[in-house]
């Protein structure tokens, strides 16, 4: 029995995907946690951009919203929201964009808009696009972080909010999307990556303790497993300590509280 949860493993795996010095467009929640974990471990020079307009934020504790004061106080500069999207994201200055998903299909297209029914009368109305469509289009790379389940990993998404690889090879180019799209989908079970030829998401890593059967069972399309499937390094003691301290201190709470 591991002394860490699958969510912790997922967060650590996401943090490890951020090389030192890269410019990262961060949303609240797990992406922000992973980015701040990376900044406190192997990537001290990570540049964090939050869509609220904080460029180069170095929060002393985990923000609970993208507009927390701690982001503005610690930022290299605070810019307007139009400037974030027009001067910084749109021209492709951001290396990595983090996205979550309510639904994800085999070509890494993402739905965060509606589930079930039709658009005007959905069964479930989700929050919608936010910054995601342009993050997915313009960042050099996209990393999707999402728990893996058959409900989420669907053969077809009910609504394309953000484009992964569209209907397959060549679609991003046809659509004029400048970023290279999702390079990694990091889940609580492992890591999926687009096949170089088909663009279909295939299983490339399993987290310790997870099985191919679990992953297949949690995927709504026939999941291809890559021959060189490897097992993720478990979280190190340091990674776990820093991560837990971060989460305990979220929003500025004293970890002792």
């Amino acid at each position: 029995m591991a002394d860490w949860t699958s969510d912790e493993m997922m967060t650590v795996a996401a943090a490890r995907a951020l090389h030192d010095g890269v410019v990262c467009f961060v949303g609240i929640g797990l992406p922000s946690t992973a980015a701040n974990l990376a900044r406190r471990t192997h990537a001290p020079n990570l540049v964090l951009i939050y869509e609220s307009g904080t460029l180069g934020a170095k929060p002393v504790h985990l923000p609970l919203s993208i507009g927390d004061g701690v982001l503005a106080e610690s930022a290299d500069s605070v810019i307007t929201v139009p400037e974030v999207f027009n001067y910084w994201l749109q021209p492709g200055r951001v290396d990595i964009g983090f996205l979550g998903a309510a639904q994800l299909d085999r070509y890494a297209n993402i739905n965060t808009t509606v589930i079930g029914g039709d658009y005007e009368h959905p069964k479930i109305r989700l929050p919608g696009a936010g910054g995601a469509p342009e993050i997915a289009a313009s960042c050099r790379e996209v990393i999707v972080v999402v728990r893996q389940s058959r409900r989420t990993f669907t053969d077809r998404v009910d609504f394309v909010t953000s484009v992964g690889f569209g209907a397959g090879p060549g679609d991003r180019e046809r659509l004029g999307l400048r970023g290279s799209g999702p390079r990694r989908v990091i889940t609580d079970l492992g890591v999926l990556e687009p096949d170089p030829d088909t663009c279909e998401l295939v299983l490339t890593h399993l987290h310790p303790g997870a099985t191919v059967e679990q992953a297949t069972e949690a995927t709504g399309w026939p999941l291809v497993v890559r021959d060189d499937l490897t097992v993720t390094e478990p979280p190190t003691g340091t990674e776990l300590d820093v991560l837990r301290a971060l989460q305990a201190g979220a929003g500025g709470r004293k970890p002792t509280e």
Partner: protein, 273 residues
Amino acid sequence: MPLATFAGLDEAVADLVHDGDTVALEGFTHLIPHAAGHEIIRQGRTGLTLVRMTPDIVYDQLIGAGCATKLVFSWGGNPGVGSLHRFRDAVEHEWPVPLEIEEHSHAGMANRYVAGASGLPFAVLRGYTGTDLVAHTATIKTITCPFTGEVLTAVPAITPDVTVVHAQQADRDGNVMMWGITGVQKEAVLAARRALVTVEEVVDEFTPRPGAVVLPNWVVTRVAVVPGGAHPSYADGYSVRDNEYYQQWDAISRDRDTFRSWVDDNIMRAGGE
């Protein structure tokens, strides 16, 4: 140029916000004009087209109270918590009234405000391409670069009848200063026909501050002094974000009756803030 005048929040809302208006309450997590939203509910406005990039709790309340028949937005959630239940109930079950939606992305909404502030009918961006938003939102079209032939996306300007924002300070002449995360507020004010600004306090003279945005009194219509008018959002230098309120809102807003009694107790009977 007509100059900004001071008024009580109730009077200012009565003067500037009319049934059927297109109203933008802006503030990106920081400086959200909650008190003004409550006053709009208190005065029973109906048929509003509400515009906001992130319709969070403030619009969940206005929608649940039946003030709005249309929402123009890009992200409708409770930041860090989850769903906006009143927004979902309106879209999923037309309660308390049907809510038409005009859905965009943040980049699109920001540029729509920029176009409005610039006196242009539209803005150009790289956005939406390949998404299903294009098929469902009429205010997303393509435009071709007359020099390169490249096809890009065009979105129309947003020009609200009235924009409402919250700022830290006004001076005695009605000039306004805000600082910290200022989001898209300057554009939202400049794009509007009328602008209402609630402020934490009035000062004799502004202290120049890093990152401060100044709105001269000739682009502001009314200033209302409402200390704490952003709560549960915050005003940098005056208050901190009430994160517990955002968490509690999930339970309050989940059930129609709980929501209604909350509105009665906390808005209708609360009187002016």
